[in-house]
Amino acid sequence: MAELTYRDAVARAIAQEMERDPDVVLLGEDVAKAGGVFKATVGLYEKFGPKRVRDTPISEQAFMGAAMGAAMTGLKPVVDLMFADFAAVCWDFFANEFPKSRYMTNGQVKVPLVIRLANGSARFGAQHCQSVENWCMMIPGLKVVVPSSPVDVVGLLAASIRDPDPVIFLEHKSLYAVKGEVPDGEIVDTLGTAKILRPGKDATILALALMVPRALAAAERLKAESGIDCEVIDVRSLLPLDTRTILESLSRTGHLFTVEENPRLCGWGAEVVSIVADEAFYDLDGPPVRITTPHIPLPPAELEDLLIPSVDRIVETVRRTLTA
């Protein structure tokens, strides 16, 4: 067992998979000698050399395409896109190319790759801090994975690299420095599985990435201050979505809250609430409530702090709803 940061967990997972499979390669801007803009790939260039760990020019379309062409023909590329917002300059690959090839070719073409994005709030403002998980979730053919802890980064990134489908792997910028216990030896998790992090009987709180530690902190305060016992689920994967774990939890608690960093419209929580309305309406003892960032561009620095769902906001929203 070792204590690892979330950023070191990224490098650990990639190293684990590169050691196992010579077809795994890493590419992106500044990933090699510089070790990545977020220092999440430090040491990989030294360990695996310039053939497998390659710096690219500022050509997001070229290296997304190159990763796809390599994946189609036998390699297993891991791509570092840096800020998640940059997906917009190569969105063709996310929306039209990676996810459609297998289908359009009736299964002839496979695109086993992982695109790593540094997602979410970190006080850089409207073009460097968006939460783009909802952009990705709406595209059939993609898998979308969003880890919240170092151990999940290792296991889910390893599973994503082994997965035969294109995986969008959303790392949270504000979690890179967070530490956690990670067991020694090979770790491979299972995509499409949510995790109950805190059992509870009064309400189900769903969260992703940076919202997970906030939901957990809120649950502790709700218990201590108001005796409200919340179950906290780390959703971990939006595609595939582990609806079974979510619906099972709701059947016990009767109350549902989603904590979403994305701007409000079409957030993943809206899809979950719609599924609940269809399939678990009679399990509900009150309205499902979405706690989200407002539907505005995100301002930088301290203003950002006022808009992203906070522990206070989660506590107040849950308490108000359950005591109404």
Binding site: S59, G65, A70, T73, F93, R102, T105, Q108, K110, R244
Partner: protein, 334 residues
């Protein structure tokens, strides 16, 4: 522009193969158009009638295992790698015997077993994807070469420039082939491009040789392809080749091509690649009966393909829900 004529240094069997290939592309696409007129091709389609020498010349110069990436105007490139006319027409007609059982359609013809790695309909993307296939060859120490075909209009999208720079700095075994048919959709390419030759005049920006050839002459195309392939296989990196040509039909099946100046089509038809190549072979002493026999066999393949496609049913409904994910299905939740 290199104005080479009759390239007798090409083996007779190769020249006959290039004639067969060009004639076959012509017949197959003309049949596709007939089927469209019979209302049997319901989706869109983009013909490359008039551009056959490029597909035939490059495909003939390729080796088994070499990879082709092309655009939505990809019937010819797909057929030229040896995919059957039946599978191509079946795909256009959404039949169960189609190349992808109707799930891709005319714009996405793909046959991995023939090295046809896809037909791409978003301008520019496949130049980048072709770089990746070539990178894999380099990474694995394999000798296959990737060819990427695209139009003149494609030279004005960012992905073209990104891909060229990328291929050069990584020294990739990829050959970029611009089929300059003078139009991007309905707009003359010269009206929207900073240089006269949209691909060739950009080569120097990437440290590449300026290569501009007669794309209606299969011999010239073949010999240019051979040089580029030898360079790629020797590890010397990519090439960019601009082929001058002209499409005889509209941009897509819906386009009557009224924007063309009077007489332009007629002028280009004088250098119709299929007709001029036949005349050249005859002038070189090949017997008409040999060419007639090639044509008879091709026509028989196309006729049989039409019959088979008309007899084939639509694919079963289930097929629309397969192969979204690697498990074979489309499940996004448990």
């Amino acid at each position: 522009m290199s104005k080479k004529t009759a390239a007798i240094d090409i083996a007779e069997a190769t020249r006959l193969e290039m004639y067969r290939s060009q004639y076959r592309l012509r017949e197959a696409e003309q049949r596709a158009f007939d089927l469209f007129l019979q209302n049997l091709v319901k989706g869109t389609s983009h013909l490359s009638l008039g551009q056959e020498a490029i597909a035939a010349g490059f495909a003939t110069a390729m080796q088994p295992g070499d990879l082709t990436f092309c655009t939505y105007r990809g019937h010819a490139h797909t057929l030229a790698r040896g995919v059957s006319v039946e599978k191509v027409l079946g795909e256009l007609m959404s039949r169960d015997n189609g190349l992808m059982r109707g799930k891709g359609g005319s714009m996405h013809l793909t046959s991995v077993e023939h090295g046809v790695m896809g037909s791409y309909a978003i301008i520019g993307a496949h130049l980048c994807i072709a770089c990746g296939a070539a990178w894999r060859a380099q990474y694995q120490g394999k000798s296959d070469v990737t060819t990427c075909f695209f139009g003149d209009g494609t030279t004005n999208i960012g992905a073209f420039h990104e891909a060229l720079n990328f291929a050069v700095i990584w020294k990739l075994p990829v050959v970029f082939v611009c089929e300059n048919n003078l139009y991007m959709e309905y707009t003359p390419i010269k009206d929207v491009t900073a240089v006269a030759q949209p691909a060739a005049d950009r080569a120097s920006a990437y440290g590449l040789e300026r290569i501009l050839i007669d794309g209606n002459d299969a011999d010239v195309v073949y010999q240019t392809a051979q040089k580029a392939y030898a360079r790629a296989r020797a590890g010397e990196g990519p090439s960019l080749i601009e082929c001058l040509t002209y499409r005889h039909s509209g941009h897509s099946r819906a386009d009557p091509a009224k924007y063309r100046p009077k007489g332009e089509l007629e002028k280009w038809k004088e250098s119709d690649p299929v007709k001029t190549y036949r005349a050249r072979l005859l002038a070189q002493g090949i017997k008409a009966s040999v060419l007639d026999e090639i044509e008879r066999v091709v026509k028989a393949e196309v006729d049989a393909a039409e019959v088979a496609c008309k007899a084939s049913p639509l694919p079963p409904d289930e097929i629309m829900f397969t192969d979204v994910y690697a498990d074979g299905g489309c499940a996004w939740r448990n």
